[in-house]
Symmetry: C2
Subunit: 179 residues, 2 copies
């Protein structure tokens, strides 16, 4: 697929919650950040179906897709970006939710044209409209380009982000010998 970031005319963009029909396109964006993956080449297995259904059914979680509104039919258009938002209720700030953003992706052949900024600004507006008091996210320390991007959007790098990977079950001392 050619890089069309400079040559394509600006199509109207829509940010909306992903539907089941968008799942292959979302999985393609998550599968490889560096290359364009053909959604049709992916197998949507049961684990993905269940995970998507869980997110879709949860009023405090949503996967948002940025779609190009080709021919006025956003439903049929190409997904060029996605992210997940979790709205977290809390006891601080008069009970206002905070919005946690994860898994931000712009299609590899469409970077550098402002789509990421558009995706984030619309997501921030959506959180504000919902009544959130804060948007928060973490970004791998190796991604200095992403840090500048979030800085330009007004985010402050005020926190250290810690992760602890868990292995399933209590018996994790030995590596599995089979399978």
């Amino acid at each position: 697929m050619p890089d069309v970031s400079d040559s394509a005319p600006a199509a109207p963009l829509t940010l909306r919650p992903a539907t089941r029909a968008d799942l292959p396109a979302v999985l393609a964006l998550l599968a490889d950040e560096e290359r364009v993956v053909d959604p049709a080449s992916l197998v949507v297995d049961d684990a993905y179906e269940r995970a998507f259904a869980a997110i879709d059914a949860d009023p405090r979680n949503e996967i948002l897709v940025l779609v190009e509104d080709v021919d006025g039919r956003a439903e049929d258009s190409g997904v060029v970006g996605c992210l997940q938002v979790t709205y977290i209720p809390g006891l601080g700030k008069g009970g206002a939710e905070r919005a946690l953003v994860e898994a931000v992706r712009v299609r590899a052949d469409r970077r550098g044209g402002g789509l990421g900024r558009d995706l984030m600004e619309r997501t921030i507006d959506r959180a504000r409209t919902r009544g959130c008091g804060l948007v928060q996210l973490t970004s791998n320390k190796q991604r200095e380009d992403a840090h500048r991007f979030y800085g330009r959007l007004g985010f402050a790098p005020s926190h250290e982000g810690f992760k602890l990977t868990l292995r399933p079950g209590p018996l994790t001392e030995t590596s599995p010998r089979h399978g």
Copy 2:
């Protein structure tokens, strides 16, 4: 209230979801990190009631309290620590949830005795038992003591943590003149 961190015998500890009866004690921990606040001195207003009810009703959110099991009656005992956990469904890692930890507090007069470690280890075990693939949190960059604490628990400071405070409504250019 005297500092009893050295003199008190080790009482059995329980980690459990907070009930409505724990709300004043939790709000007291959140109100002032540096001093012990008497829960009876706090007014639990409607906003807190609604926020607690929202968290309590959400199967992917919980406030956990670490309580001393005095006389075998954990329900009547003192809350010495608390935190909030949000279990986030996602499309990665075979659909495993990740656990986001926020608002970690140990009562000011009981620090330095391992209660924070106990609180976190039990929370991590709880997340693992639930099937989470990851525990994540952010800590203000000024809290270097907290960073060492999370490092000793096995957390990797792999990410930058970004926050964007939102002001309510679209008309935020001017400061309110009244109220």
